[in-house]
């Protein structure tokens, strides 16, 4: 696979997000959060995932890009907070995400803050370099 630059990846991701979320081009910055800033809802993650696969000719496994069914596992979330086990799994499975933004409380509500446009760019960069 031809090496693709980070700028090219960002431009393509911008197209994907404009299309999937109806977001304005100038709203889509590297720091923009998918949920908070760009208004993504849960089903949009499936849409984004499908569109990234097409755009970059890659295969994204279920749960690879975004966490799934965290809430239904009571060893991962207790009282609305991510457990140590959850953090370990998330860090291992999602090296493209910067979890340092989560504070000590590790509330699941904060998870929406770590999924940014930059995390998508990192994900694609790793994936296309593999």
């Amino acid at each position: 696979m031809a090496v693709i630059s980070r700028d090219e990846i960002f431009d393509k991701i911008k197209d994907v997000l404009e299309n999937a979320l109806g977001a304005d081009s100038d709203e889509i910055t590297m720091d923009a959060t998918l949920i908070g800033d760009l208004g993504a809802e849960s089903i949009d993650f499936l849409d984004i995932s499908f569109k990234l696969e097409q755009e970059f000719s890659i295969k994204i496994d279920q749960g690879e890009l975004f966490p799934e069914n965290l809430m239904s596992d009571d060893t991962l979330v207790v009282d609305g907070k991510l457990t140590d086990k959850a953090m370990e799994i998330l860090r291992e499975k999602m090296p493209h995400v910067d979890f340092t933004k989560l504070d000590e409380q590790r509330s699941v509500d904060q998870l929406s803050e770590v999924f940014t446009v930059a995390s998508l760019v990192d994900f694609i960069e790793r994936k296309t370099a593999a």
Partner: protein
Amino acid sequence: MRWMWIDTITAFEEGTRMHAVKNLSLAEEHLHDHFDGSDGLEPCAVMPGSLIVEGMAQTAGILVGSVNRFREKVVLAKISKVELDQDAVPGQCLRYEAEIERMDGVGASTTGVVRRLDHADGEWHEIGRIDLIFSHIDNNTGGREFPEENFVFSDNFRQILVAAGLDRLIDQ
């Protein structure tokens, strides 16, 4: 009223594409209200765009559901794109042409073209495009549980499949 917005299946390729036809009749009650002239304009019967989307959703939904023999509860989760260029009115016939673009355990995306039969030349002319995303809700519940019974694919769907000679797709 039965919530069926397709009349028959006219083409089916498993896991790939499906065509369904909808005949519009002046006897359909909803057409009497849309538009009924209460806005001061001349009454005219036009099929609501939302019901054209529903027709495509039923077509694509059957196509997606048939892959797993209707064991999964396939629900419309997102309307990715709707472009309708022309109205559909009584006496006309619509054809929904749906294709699966991508599918996995979580859901599926479909693309679709709406065509209208032109009685003058006998040709099917494209009048719209509708892309959809379906979710397999049993795999996306976020901890919520749904009834065992598949409430999505009811007897009405079964009847349409049987009429099209597609009984083999129904999980016995």
